[in-house]
């Protein structure tokens, strides 16, 4: 036991003290945030100029304005030009060839049947961004609707507008009547956890494998196993590296806690000063000055945000730690066995595939669960031990029978004991085998070697 602690200590310290670890741990989340924002920024800052030509041969939504002597929309409050979107209207149909040669890069044809079926042809030179398309679409839709209401049905458009109802759901889970449910939003957060476990298992599992290969190729392993049992060496390595992962995660939790608190209090003080201008003195006295706690309270009552606070964060972090450890032990020891079975990292391919396949599968299942969080397939994979560490993250946050969690945990622990045993058997033979390329049959034999 004393020796396994020595091994854990070496594996842990030699990694945590590395500059790359410190940099990754601090810059990792920042880098991630920057990547996310820049990805969003790239899609937002679409600088393409859209010159849209609306061809309305029959004057359904356009009319001739004699003052300006041009074709203008009949309802000018539609077709609002903003940013990089500009409209032009014509009665004269344009041939596709002429469009191709011409100035406009999008052309929409409205004809008399469009009023009935709402279908219009959209020609484009380059596929327009979804945001642009939806702006054009809604302008056309409103215009056509208005045409039908006023011209065909002879109704007052304002009356019609008042008669219109837009339906939306307030999601309420029968088990939590007093809160509006945010299943989809929660599933996304759960997926973030799942993604993190997936990445951690991969990242640190591969580190275990590299470590084993390093020990094997530089031949220190024979010296070490003359002092400790191969199983101790393997477990020491797996545990030590796993603790590096947990350290990184905990630092991230603390960091994001700090960032969130700073962010929220900043947000709160912004709101406070905003309120101070509008509200009367009494309100300023109540919420203003340095008393941000009240503002925070108000923020927490805000329906759009407060579901975040209702998530059982300690439970999620607890589950994350449990499932990370369980999943990592299974995959980490498998990676250790792979490392022991080969002579060089280039030989790992044939063994990597069957190990990474269930991981990738779990990741895909979790991703699809964002749109259908309560599927029973998801429940199965949240219990199945090779996928549960990832899939359960989504399931647990959305809500699952607690007994399912217990069952999944028990199966996970049983599986990790089995896999650690199997990996240990392969490992102890593999680390002392050189030059021979192991096949699956050989690995099977190694498991049953005596002594």
């Amino acid at each position: 036991m004393k020796k396994i602690i020595l091994i854990i200590k070496r594996e842990y310290l030699s990694r945590v003290k590395k500059k790359s670890f410190i940099i990754m741990t601090i810059l990792g989340p920042l880098l991630f945030a920057v990547l996310m924002f820049s990805a969003i920024a790239v899609t937002m800052s679409d600088t393409t100029e859209y010159d849209v030509l609306i061809v309305d041969q029959y004057g359904v939504i356009t009319e001739y304005n004699s003052d300006k002597s041009t074709i203008v929309p009949r309802f000018p409050d539609q077709f609002i030009e903003e940013g990089n979107l500009r409209y032009a209207f014509t009665k004269d149909p344009m041939t596709p060839e002429a469009f191709k040669e011409g100035f406009y890069n999008v052309m929409v044809e409205v004809d008399e049947i469009s009023i009935d079926d709402g279908k219009c042809n959209m020609y484009f030179k380059k596929y327009p961004a979804e945001m642009i398309q939806s702006k054009i679409r809604s302008s056309l839709q409103e215009s056509l609707e208005r045409f039908r209401v006023t011209d065909s049905l002879k109704l007052d458009y304002e009356v019609y507008k008042r008669a219109r109802v837009k339906v939306s759901f307030k999601e309420i889970n029968i088990d939590r009547l007093n809160e509006s449910d945010k299943t989809r939003e929660k599933a996304i957060i759960g997926f973030a956890f799942a993604l993190m476990i997936y990445l951690f298992i991969f990242l640190y599992g591969v580190q275990v494998m590299r470590g084993v290969i390093e020990e094997k190729t530089n031949r220190i392993v024979e010296v070490i196993v003359s002092s400790v049992k191969p199983f101790q060496l393997m477990m020491g390595k797996v545990i030590g590296i796993g603790m590096v992962g947990l350290t990184q995660f905990l630092i991230w939790v603390v960091l994001s806690g700090i960032v969130m608190t700073i962010g929220l209090s900043f947000f709160a003080s912004e709101m406070t000063s905003g309120a101070a201008v509008v509200e009367n003195a009494q309100v300023i006295q109540m919420t203003g000055g340095t008393d941000q706690a009240a503002m925070m309270q108000e923020l927490m009552n805000n329906e759009a945000i407060n579901w975040i606070f209702r998530i059982n964060w300690p439970l999620m972090i607890g589950l994350f730690i449990f499932y990370f450890i369980g999943g990592y032990m299974i995959y980490g020891s498998l990676f250790a066995a792979i490392g022991a079975a080969v002579d060089a990292e280039t030989d790992t391919q044939q063994f990597m595939l069957p190990v990474t396949l269930p991981l990738i599968f779990a990741y895909i299942v979790s991703a699809t669960m964002m749109s259908n969080p309560e599927s029973s397939v998801g429940t199965f994979f949240a219990v199945f031990p090779l996928t549960s560490p990832i899939t359960m993250m989504v399931k647990a946050i959305v809500g699952i029978n607690p007994w399912m969690i217990v069952l999944s945990m028990v199966i996970l622990v049983a599986t990790f004991i089995l896999f650690v045993w199997i990996a240990g058997r392969i490992y102890r033979v593999g680390i002392l085998m050189y030059g021979k390329k192991a096949s699956y049959r050989e690995l099977w034999k190694w498991i049953w070697y005596k002594g």
């Binding site: 530089n218 010296v223 003359s226 002092s227 002594g451």
Partner: protein, 309 residues
């Protein structure tokens, strides 16, 4: 006292027999040579003694008691294929390996100080292993092998990779430890060092012990009754005077004198040979040509392998 005794060890790996009824007995304070061609099973035997792997059947005793996990702290092992963590600092690495052998932090530090001072390598303490030369790394490996003052030292080709000066350093350390009572198992192909250092040997070939015993006796066992005679006189006189009881194997000149290699046939003695020669030539020296370990090794293995042809 017997430090290590292995009795009737059998070991096989998926159909391949690595050790077959191997027994050895290593006395305390001696150097025991473990010889054999590549692939004979030496490394397997060493791994069994180190408890890296277990025998299929047979028993190993350490100082009379069945081998147990805590005995690893009494054994120091320098494998033939040896290495170190490249990215680790020399000092840290030695501390780590010493503690794995059961030394406390303080004790490890104290002993390392002694050794590093003695080998004059204190300046390497904070260097990374990857910055060391092969010879330097070998020295570090030797230090970590003996640091915990094991009762039994197992050295597999300890001199390979060393320059003559460092090899001498290691040789002297071995002899010093031997004189302090350490038992040493030496596995090597260098028969010169076997003759020089070993008290006893076993020769393992094709998983079996085919030869064993004190080096002197093994060599006597392989004597071929061949004598080297240096004399002054005419070679022809010598040849003529030999009867059928003696065979002249070789004759050549060495400096001013002549040398003859003569084998005694049947049960004839050196005295009889000398009495024949005394009247004819002037004898300068005579000595028996006892075969070296190198020849014995080759002879024994060849004879043994011949039976499988």
């Amino acid at each position: 006292m017997i430090t290590l005794e292995a009795k009737h060890i059998h070991k096989s790996f998926s159909g391949h027999q690595a050790l077959k009824d191997v027994s050895i007995s290593v006395k305390q304070g001696t150097v025991f040579g473990l010889l054999g061609p590549n692939g004979a099973g030496k490394t397997t035997l060493i791994r069994i003694i180190n408890q890296i792997t277990g025998p299929d059947s047979g028993e190993v005793f350490f100082e009379g008691k069945p081998l147990a996990p805590h005995h690893t702290e009494q054994i120091g092992y320098l494998p033939e294929e040896r290495g170190l963590y490249k990215k680790m600092k020399v000092g840290e690495q030695c501390m780590y390996l010493a503690q794995l052998k059961g030394l406390s932090h303080q004790e490890a530090k104290r002993r390392l100080n002694d050794w590093f001072t003695r080998f004059d390598i204190m300046a390497w303490w904070d260097k990374k292993v990857e910055d060391l030369s092969k010879g330097m790394a070998q020295k570090i490996q030797f230090v970590t092998t003996v640091l915990h003052e094991p009762k039994l030292l197992i050295l597999d080709e300890p001199f390979s990779g060393f320059d003559p000066i460092n090899a001498e350093l290691i040789r002297n350390e071995m002899l010093r430890m031997k004189s302090e009572g350490t038992t040493i198992i030496l596995s090597t192909h260098d028969m010169g060092s076997v003759e020089e250092l070993c008290d006893e040997i076993v020769l393992i070939n094709r998983a079996e012990v085919i030869l064993g015993g004190p080096v002197r006796e093994v060599r006597k066992q392989f004597r071929t009754h061949l004598f080297e005679l240096e004399y002054a006189g005419l070679a022809l006189d010598l040849t003529v005077s030999l009867w059928t009881n003696f065979e002249l194997v070789k004759s050549f000149q060495r400096g001013e004198n002549m040398v003859a290699h003569i084998r005694l046939l049947r049960d004839h003695t050196l005295n009889e040979l000398l009495s024949v020669l005394l009247p004819t030539v002037q004898i300068v020296s005579v000595r028996e040509m006892i075969p070296g370990m190198e020849e014995i090794f080759i002879e024994a293995v060849r004879t043994y392998n011949a039976q499988f042809k």
